[in-house]
Subunit: 297 residues, 2 copies
């Protein structure tokens, strides 16, 4: 595959669990910088309980301040009807509904079981369709659960089939804890291609165990439409123990660019922004390119 | 491919550029630990000028102390006739001769041009054959040069053809500065398979830009026989600017194990040894598994 779309998730998944707190203005600058580099999809915010995820409490303020137009699509993560109402009021372009594949993480992440999450998703899908908002449904912990361990491909694909009944515009597989390997990517994307041949796929990888970039390359090989990545490689789920950073946007783009895969995103401004983000959060980010530099220089 | 051999290179490539100095006794323990975990090939030492690479000055002492037998093969890196004499006296099982693919890094790394390095390799091969010692020839900077930039596949494969004339038991491609991407792995291993279908291949990846593990998975897909890795992910060439660690043995093994690829090596003792090595060198090693833990636990 010679082209892939990138979804920048640093403003949401990157910052939601970050010890440093960025101001709304800095969050908006982070988004503006991504757009300036060529990114056209941004997971900007989540509409979740601010008591549980305080870093996302300013979601409405962020959405009110981001630049609109220029073909940029803003996604907000939603888990339930309440979040959906906030998302519509904030005028997101897409909503990202999450359904966790295991009961235990579902309860810990969103306070309800898998069945209720599927029903929530169905309601979200109906409301979004009525409002003309695109939908993406993300199957979380699809490559392994921090509480229940191995997750079979059958479990993931059965749940995929259930969520596909509500007609998402896209379906995503998330390796929430960074446990997955390229053969799982192949199996799961192959399974989705059989069950929903017309539905675009997105993958969301964390690099907790140094498998994230190999998984991204595997996903590319198996026809993924969009890859999530987080500037600087920051991020992690607050409700999954030991979850660490997403794959870094700049490191992923380095690999893709050198492989001749078109993304529409330029490396130099992204690298510069990764360094800016490191300064803002006051620590060395997990991505390696800001230290190593691109090649060739 | 469902099996691959692992070469542990921490004792040589890992430690040669490490700020902390390990005692000979600790180097031997590092090797013993790898063997106890199931590793059967170890790049134990290099026989190079101790003034230029002081960390390898005790090569003879290390080789005198390592446990022999049990099917373990010890490799020593050699660059010239003088190094070869030392390697034979130290009774290594294999010698690893390095030929750099670019003039500039060849001069900086071993003080001679590419043509002279090829002649040195031919001499080493002849002596090794006479002594009954296995040979591997490594093409360094095969994925890019820190001084000359991009290296074409034709350059690498032409040099491969020249080194293959001396009949190595194995030919290796080294991404000395961690710049390579999976498509390069495919092109180069594909080219070697055409030019030398009977010769086993080995790949040596650094994770400088987070491409190392994706490259290893690609190499596996394209039939590599052996993958180099360094416990803890330590390492780097002293004569290549910004060169950072090798792919970490424990992280590579995690990926391979979860993919069902047989290596004969066990993860738990390797992980324990990576933590031990971090204590010994007094810093957090770049490998991620010691922090994240294996999955499932």
């Amino acid at each position: 595959m010679r082209s892939v779309s990138l979804m920048e998730v640093a403003p949401r998944d990157g910052l939601q669990n970050e010890p440093a707190e960025l101001s709304t203005r800095d969050k908006v600058e982070l988004i503006e910088r991504s757009i300036a580099a060529g990114v056209r999809r941004v997971e900007a915010v989540s509409f979740v309980n601010p008591k549980r995820v305080p870093r996302m409490a300013d979601a409405e303020d962020v959405m009110a301040a981001v630049p609109r137009g220029a073909g940029v699509s803003y996604t907000g993560l939603v888990l339930n009807p309440r979040g959906m109402r906030r998302a519509l009021e904030a005028a997101v372009d897409e909503v990202n509904a999450v359904v966790v594949v295991t009961e235990t993480l579902s309860q810990r992440n969103q306070g309800c079981g898998v069945d209720e999450a599927v029903r929530n998703w169905a309601g979200i899908a109906a409301e979004a369709r009525a409002a003309g908002v695109r939908t993406t449904v993300t199957l979380a912990a699809a490559f392994g659960c921090p509480f229940e361990g191995e997750v079979s491909a059958a479990t993931v694909l059965d749940l995929a089939a259930r969520t596909l009944e509500s007609g998402p515009d896209e379906i995503a597989l998330a390796d929430t804890i960074g446990a997955g390997t390229p053969d799982q990517v192949e199996t799961l994307l192959g399974g989705l291609a059989e069950r929903a041949p017309g539905v675009p796929t997105r993958c969301h990888f964390h690099n907790t165990r140094n498998t994230g970039y190999a998984n991204a390359v595997a996903a590319l090989r198996y026809g993924v439409s969009t890859l999530d990545a987080s500037l600087g490689g920051i991020g992690g789920c607050p409700f999954a123990p030991n979850a660490t950073g997403n794959i870094a946007s700049e490191d992923l783009l380095y690999t893709l660019s050198r492989m001749g895969v078109r993304t529409g995103v330029e490396l130099e401004p992204l690298l510069e922004s990764a360094r800016w983000l490191g300064d803002r959060i006051g620590r060395e980010t997990p991505g390696l390119l800001p230290r190593a530099g691109a090649f060739p220089n």
